[in-house]
């Protein structure tokens, strides 16, 4: 497998506060990479720097071996970002939302129509394509949120807590679709506070705290950092052991 994404000494400071501190991670093509951390650990800022939403104070991001700054337009077209917020317009119909975000990548005409239908079918919203997004349930909005990031066929999908506030069925549907996308060749970066989700789908996990990676590896490797017998411990217990039980009031 080749490295699809690499961060080099990635740092973000807001004033004197260091939010992300010299982050060096490599993500291999075809893996599902989990990024865990308590609130304020720097996960979202890291994601935002990878997506070029926030400019790093120091360091750089390489994507397919190319510097992000120098090949911005080309590299962004290979990236699908599914934000934690429901980044869809309530006053647009489902197909119009997908059209709006897919067309930003230069797709037009018959090809655009095809991609809209594909994306909506992928998330099971074909029958609701003519309904306004504001009439959707939380789960349907989450699925539409995902559909809006798939139309341009990205090779790297970034999911920022995609299952917040939805029922078990919708969550299960989304997890299955992430696995399916990965089977179809997409590399996935995934953040969530639901440890069982991360444990179920991620091939490798990094745990962040105070802007730094404090542990990285497969689920088994992370568990072995805490106890020898990995069957006696859950990922959540590993997480709490590594990051502590103190409340994080950010």
């Amino acid at each position: 497998m080749s490295t699809i994404l690499r961060t080099k000494d990635l740092t973000k400071k807001y004033g004197s506060k260091v939010v992300v501190d010299n982050l060096n991670i490599e993500i291999e093509e075809g893996e599902v990479f989990g990024l865990l951390g308590p609130n304020g650990a720097g996960k979202s800022t890291t994601m935002n720097m990878i997506c070029d939403i926030v400019r790093p104070t120091l360091g750089s991001v390489e994507f397919y071996g190319k510097d992000f700054k120098k090949n911005r337009k080309e590299l962004l077209s290979k990236l699908g970002y599914i934000p934690q917020d429901l980044a869809i317009h309530g006053r647009l119909k489902a197909w119009e939302n997908v059209e709006l975000f897919t067309s930003l990548y230069g797709i037009k005409g018959a090809e655009l129509k095809k991609r809209i239908d594909e994306s909506l079918e992928y998330v099971g919203l074909t029958e609701k394509k003519n309904d306004y997004a504001k009439t959707f349930s939380g789960g349907m909005k989450r699925r539409l949120n995902i559909a809006c990031a798939l139309g341009h066929h990205p090779s790297l999908l970034i999911f920022d807590e995609p299952t917040v506030g939805i029922d078990a069925q919708s969550r299960n549907f989304i997890m299955e679709k992430i696995k399916e996308s990965n089977r179809n060749g997409a590399t996935v970066i995934y953040t969530s506070h639901y440890m069982e989700e991360v444990e179920a789908i991620c091939t490798r996990i990094a745990i962040m705290d105070n802007g730094k990676i404090i542990a990285i590896g497969t689920v088994e490797e992370l568990k072995k950092m805490v106890v020898e017998d990995t069957s006696k411990i859950t990922l959540e217990e590993v997480f709490l052991t590594l990051t502590g039980k103190k409340l994080r009031d950010y």
């Binding site: 997506c51 400019r55 911005r72 962004l76 077209s77 934000p83 934690q84 917020d85 429901l86």
Partner: protein, 375 residues
Amino acid sequence: MIRYLIKNNFKIISRNAINILVLTLAPIIVSAVLISAFSAMMEKYEEVGAFKVGYSCNHDDITDQYIDGLKSVAEGQGISFVEYEGTNAEEAVADYKLAGFVEFGKDSYTVYKTDENTAEGQILEYLLHAYYENMSLAISEQLMAAGSENVAENNAKDETIGSKMKVETADFIPAVDSTDYYGIIYMIYFSWCCIVCGAGLFTAEKKYGIEKRQMVSGISDFKEYLSKFIPMVLMACGGLAIYGVLSIALLDVHWGNIALSALLVVLGIMAATALGLMVYAICDNMVVTVIIVFMLVWVWGFVGGSFETYIFSSTSETLKNLSPIYYENRALVELSCMGESDYVIKSIICSSTITAVCSGIAVLAGAIRRKGGKK
């Protein structure tokens, strides 16, 4: 493809009922109320017939010349100027039953008005102001044209100035009624408030993180700007076009040259949209943007004739000239009641300049804000 973004942004804006309220119903209601409220005042102005005004002056070549020109213009408007040499102004007004009196100094004049003849007094003031304004303009043009020619030549040219005034200022008093005035003025006023069109779109983009998603697509700052600017202008034009039709059908407003008036309104809307987008790009907060833009529009409207008619307003010409709304108001009102206006070109230049400058700043400010990594 930016056209899909423009199309969908337009759908978002047009599906917001508040826009119809602000751009169509509000101007109809406000102008209907003001037309009714001020009809008596404007009728009084319209009903004023011929009247007599006294004056005194220090006779010299230049003063005699411009007073001759002024008397000729005033005659065309039914105002007779009669000289009362060495008489006290107040006594002359009382003794000879004059509607007003003017004392011409070397480089100034003083107007005396009476409580019984308020409308006549305002017409007199307006006439004098318009006459002097045009005379100054003509003298400036003459001096500029003269270039490095000698003083003797300039003095010779001054003789032509007086005769030129007679032609240029003869039609200068617009006889507009409250229906046309307020019907027109409030389309302009609300067109400058069109930033509210985009409020729903901007709020949703910020609240739901949609702008982040657009940034991830790599869309350029200029395209991003156009994707807001064009739908907002289209929406405002659509809403105010409905108002325009309703103003004719329901309020009986006369627009004069409709094509030219429509062009001025569209350019005004573009300027207002660019201004709103610039303020938003700088302060990054829709509530603050609306407050700043509305305050600015209120001040511009206040000095530009939106509340008090610019015809009767005592606001100085310098202040009026600082208001883009004034140029638009005056051009449209004069197009309505005279069919032509010297302010058309001024209004076009003013609106186009605001659009270009504000658009440039908005794109630049948006780019700086994004690249600064504040989000």
